[in-house]
Amino acid sequence: MLKTLRISFSLKNTYRVNAILYSLKQIPLLRCLLPASLYQVRGLKIFANLLSVLWELISIFLFKFIYLLTMVCGMGLLYQNALPRLSFLHILLFLTLIGSYMNTSLFNPTRDKYYAMILLRMNARSYTLVNYGYALFKTVVGFLPFTILLGLSRGVPLWLCLLLPFCIAGAKVSVAAYSLRDYEKNGYVRNENKLQKFAWLLAGVLLALAYLPPAAGFVLPFAASAALFLLWIPMGLVSFYRVAAFRYYREINQELLSQMLVQMDTVKKAAKTASEKAISADASITSRKSGFEYLNELFIKRHRKILWRSSIRIANVCGFLCCGALLVMALMPEIKADINEMVMTWLPYFTFIMYMINRGTGFTRALFMNCDHSLLTHSFYKQPRFVLRLFRIRLGEIMKINAVPALVIGVGLSLILYVSGGTDNPLNYGVLLVSILAMSTFFSIHYLTVYYLLQPYTAGTEMKSGTYRVVMILTYLVCYVLMNVRLPILVFGAACIAFCVLYSVIACILVYKFAPQTFRLRM
């Protein structure tokens, strides 16, 4: 018994520690510092072990604390027409019922179970029972301090606070015993990550029962709540005996975990299938062009759904919003002055909006997943002149796609500015339109350039460049900061246009100089 517990602990710990070390190795700067023999270094192992223990403690205490604090107490605070202790018990009771079948630990296919029982062929019954016992222990120990702390603060008597964790554990065991019985009778293996419709429906009903009646002032009386909780203790004890006596743990786990193996594979494939789904199967799509123009045209036409269509949809929404703003101004002329001032100084804000609506990342992703990832393995495709030619064609294409919403926003803003009272310097209209277009061009060039210079993916379509991630985060941060900047149109617009022109020139020079070397598959 103890031996099983020790083995399963050390197994779980080992892979957690290795996972921590592995993720350390993924951080760009640390990667160079960490040795290849990383997994042997004692100091690092101790550090990772500490993190692993910390995680275990968090999983015992912190989550339960947050759960009680927000879902039970926090929501309870909203209800003024019910006694605090009654609403506390009422909500907790129904949430416990949901948890009893949604969070069983017995029917949760986890990686450590797979390693222990399938790969290492540990005895399924003793492994399951020991770990289940530990899970119940965690439930009781993890809940106890907080049912006392929060329960008492809501006026629940101490004796009940002390018993609540056992009631919760009892409910879990009872449902587990029922599910095991269901297996014995019907051969059905529950998987708590793949619930059936009925279970979701039940969860919805229970959730409604937990939160809706207290809002109307109706809560279960104390005696009823307490009785319904305490009932689970004897039921749990009887059920625990059944759980311990159950004989088919290997069968159950084998079925549960075989599904998981399929899942692990599907996660890998999911990204690939998702990108392949974006390819239109429309057989009427053809092209009359030749060479790279042919390739590009077919690519764009077959990916219309994720490129043009979404860009046009965004343009429609923007057009609609602009019309809305114009309409509001027509109906309420008094707000015109405010809007005028806003448009005159809020141009930096639109950097963030242009960032959000830009199709650049989607475009480069689709380019890689469905086109470059395969063609880059062919040497003809990597010839410098071809790389650059295709870059030019693609740049034109993505600029066109992004220009549509940009044009709508630019024209819309100019119109709003005009209707809201105009400006004494007509140059403002021009700068407004051009700077929005410049931003859109900037993002188009930016994403494509970064893609060509850093090419972050491996042949297995895995993202592997830390630098690429850093650049993406920086882009976001800069746009985010600009959101809070207020500058007159002329100042920001002129700066923006100048920057975009400069950036484009530099980006193109960099691509022409380096892309033939950098644009290849990562190993």
Binding site: A281, Y294, L295, H303, S374, L375, F386, A459, M523
Partner: protein, 235 residues
């Protein structure tokens, strides 16, 4: 024509995968590249194809007495997992490839003749490549690499996952193509290497060495190869 590797080396962190390799491949031969798991066969191919940068060394071609650096278009590289652009049909991919290589392709075959050569059925020629089976994708990849008539053809475990019929077709094809070029074929299947290849080259301890057949019979030759491979120790 000769394909010369000189002082090629590559290491990953502390592990030296290729150690100062110097080797010359000759025209018209199929070389079987054998090595234990992790010996560095794929790394060698990736270095030759310049998918990864070697630490040092050069690869060059000698034609009619003049030596020049190997260009990207000299090399055709067929990977074990076929990669084809999923959004094109077989015919479109072929057309695209013929278009952009028009200057260097001298053959006058029509696309359908090419498909027939690879025994890709007429009804499959206009299907999207994403719907092709593994074997068909492999044929498509091979076709592209053959049409370009690269001087050097690198094949990384190309037949392992094909059904017996397709594998046999491919073998025939490779034999018919070997004249005028250098074919380097990496595999784990010794019988396949012995059946198809003119020379057996071992990659062990980060170095390339030829196993001479001399006057051994095939069983003795096999034993010699295995003995040589067994010498690989893991430090």
């Amino acid at each position: 024509m000769k394909f010369m590797i000189e002082h090629l080396s590559k290491h990953f962190e502390e592990k030296e995968v290729l150690k100062d390799i110097t080797f010359t491949f000759e025209e018209g031969k199929i070389y079987g590249l054998l090595g234990r798991n992790g010996a560095g066969k794929t790394t060698l191919f990736n270095c030759l194809n310049r998918d990864i940068k070697a630490d040092s060394g050069s690869v060059s071609l000698e034609e009619n007495g003049t030596v020049r650096e190997v260009a990207a278009e000299d090399i055709g590289y067929v990977l074990s997992t076929p990669t084809v652009p999923e959004f094109l049909t077989g015919r479109e991919f072929l057309k695209f490839f013929l278009d952009i290589n028009a200057a260097s392709i001298h053959s006058t075959k029509s696309p359908d003749e090419y498909f027939a050569m690879m025994s890709i059925a007429p009804e499959d020629r206009d299907k999207l490549l994403k719907d092709y089976s593994h074997g068909m994708k492999n044929k498509m990849q091979m076709l592209i690499n053959i049409i370009a008539q690269p001087k050097i053809l690198l094949l990384d475990e190309p037949l392992t996952s094909l059904d017996v019929v397709v594998a046999e077709e491919m073998k025939q094809l490779l034999r018919s193509l070997k004249d005028g070029r250098i074919t380097i074929f990496s595999t784990h299947i010794l019988d396949l290497a012995l059946d198809l290849c003119d020379k057996i080259v071992l990659l062990s301890h980060g170095e390339l060495e030829v196993v001479e057949k001399s006057n051994l019979d095939s069983q003795e030759f096999k034993e010699k190869i295995i003995a040589a491979l067994k010498e690989e120790t893991y430090a």
